[in-house]
């Protein structure tokens, strides 16, 4: 458990990610519309919503990859846009990893280690857990999609971040690797790491999430605890609870 403890001592505020009035348009199409969010420390917050709801864009706003047209965002106490230093607190797992195909997995790991410059010892157990030990010395171009996704997951956890942003993390993973990843997420939460999890797999969300942020058409439809969502909708299953809110919105 201790190896998952975040690198820096955490003077945890009650919210590690806060956003107010976040708006983003691509051309004339609004993708995010006045999003207010608050991700609490040491909890797993699932971002849910149909395709095109703005989930991945929201994650990219938090990382500074996408600049919002309006609103403010604070991550780990630092306003996003005030320089890249705050990203040292974040481990990011993108949806579809495309690593340089002629590098080996180990070289990709070294590249990120050198870029971050964080003096963290090699975590062999992490790579072993994902079954990557024998794969790390092969060029990325010969790795299967699932193996690249495992490498992607290991890279997100490698720096013992205070915040994990995971975009569809189990997509493409076999059941064993998926189980390992879920176990890692729960261990990280116990160690005080805040996790923002974008997922379409509602059973996974039910297993992992404490809180839910439901986005519909770029707006927050619900934000609160999983239990609160169930109580609000009167549904016991998450799938039905989400469907309930979507129907309510449509009507």
């Amino acid at each position: 458990m201790t190896d998952l403890a975040p690198l820096q001592a955490i003077p945890l505020p009650c919210a590690v990610i806060e956003g107010s009035g976040i708006g983003k348009r691509y051309g004339r199409v609004p993708v995010l519309r006045g999003i207010d969010l608050s991700v609490r420390a040491g909890r797993v917050t699932a971002v849910l919503g149909p395709n095109g709801a703005g989930k991945s864009t929201l994650v990219r706003v938090l990382l500074g990859l996408v600049r919002p047209d309006e609103g403010t965002v604070t991550v780990a106490g630092a306003p996003v846009g005030d320089g890249p230093a705050y990203r040292a607190a974040i481990g990011y797992m993108p949806q579809q990893p495309h690593f340089p195909e002629n590098l080996t997995g180990r070289e990709v790991v070294r590249l990120l280690r050198e870029l971050r410059g964080q003096p963290i010892p090699e975590d062999d157990a992490l790579f072993q857990a994902f079954g990557l030990t024998t794969e790390l010395d092969k060029p990325v171009r010969v790795l299967s999609g699932g193996t690249k996704q495992k490498l992607n997951a290991a890279l997100a956890f490698m720096f013992r971040p205070r915040i994990l942003l995971l975009d569809e993390p189990t997509a493409g993973l076999d059941p064993v690797a998926s189980g390992v990843l879920k176990a890692r997420i729960l261990e990280a939460r116990q160690a005080g790491v805040s996790v923002l999890l974008v997922s379409h797999v509602l059973s996974e969300v039910e297993d992992l999430a404490d809180d839910v942020l439901l986005l519909l058409d770029g707006q927050v439809e619900f934000q609160g605890s999983l239990r609160g969502l169930r109580e609000l909708t009167g549904e016991t299953r998450l799938e039905q609870a989400v469907a309930h809110l979507m129907r309510r919105r449509a009507s």
């Binding site: 993108p94 495309h98 002629n102 050198e114 870029l115």
Partner: protein
């Protein structure tokens, strides 16, 4: 620090790229064949010049564009680390352009060294071919970076890259010929000189032709060009024009990279 790290790993990636190795091997074999079977001398350099003017810009802009589109999601992962965009951009560009430029120098320069190294008369034209090829590599990789940042769609971006190459290698010359024939009754030497300076491939072509003492074949225009490109002012202006073609797109691309949504 960030720039150097990204440069080093990109170099490692490209060093193993089969496409890049294939391109450099073709250049090497072509240079070797030209020197061996055309008896060396200015004719071999002239043939090589045509290859350099056509192939080097095409490969630089197409390979560069494809490589950058292929790297887009990895660039997103790099941008998600605590690194500045400006430094990352510098590393990415250097990691793309320098392997292509150094590879070109080796693929064309080495055969000259062991086949034509003894011929002192070829040293000047050869140096010009190597200079021109290296500069064109830097210019067209900068254009590739710009295209990949301006156009999000990979197919459209590749189309634009090829269009740029067609314009600067063929259409622009057709325009110059059209101007020359339409206004043939007027003294056109200076306007043509100006038009030449607007196209990096034309600057390279004219500079190399003048080095090969072919100016006499171009009549009075050749004399004007020789006088201009042979003078310090002419060399400075043409070098400045090529430099602008390199630094201009690169500066716009850097600005775009630092502001772009990924």
């Amino acid at each position: 620090m960030t720039s150097m790290t990204v440069f080093r790993y990109e170099l490692q990636d490209l060093r193993r790229s089969r496409w890049l190795l294939g391109y450099l091997l073709c250049l090497f074999l072509l240079t070797e064949a030209l020197l061996r079977f055309s008896g060396g001398g200015p004719r071999a350099v002239l043939s090589l010049m045509n290859v350099v003017l056509g192939v080097v810009p095409l490969v630089s802009i197409v390979f560069g564009t494809m490589y950058l589109y292929g790297s887009r999601s990895f660039i997103q992962l790099l941008l998600a680390q605590p690194v500045g965009r400006g430094e990352l951009f510098a590393g990415l560009y250097a990691g793309l352009a320098l392997p292509l430029a150094v590879g070109f120098l080796l693929a064309v320069g080495l055969p000259f060294l062991w086949d034509g190294g003894g011929d002192g008369a070829l040293a000047g034209p050869l140096a010009m071919v190597l200079d021109a090829g290296t500069l064109l590599t830097l210019v067209f990789t900068a254009l590739a970076v710009l295209v990949s940042l301006l156009v999000n769609d990979r197919a459209k971006g590749l189309g634009l890259a090829i269009l740029i190459w067609v314009v600067v290698t063929a259409l622009y010359d057709a325009l110059i010929v059209l101007v020359a024939t339409t206004f043939s009754d007027y003294p056109l030497e200076l306007p043509l000189l100006g038009l030449t300076l607007l196209n990096p491939i034309d600057i390279a072509r004219v500079s190399m032709l003048l080095r090969l003492d072919t100016a006499a074949l171009m009549g009075y225009t050749g004399a004007v060009f020789e006088r201009f490109f042979g003078s310090f002012v002419g060399i400075g202006v043409s070098a400045g024009a090529v430099l602008l073609w390199w630094v201009g797109p690169l500066a716009v691309a850097q600005r775009r990279f630092c502001r772009k949504d990924f």
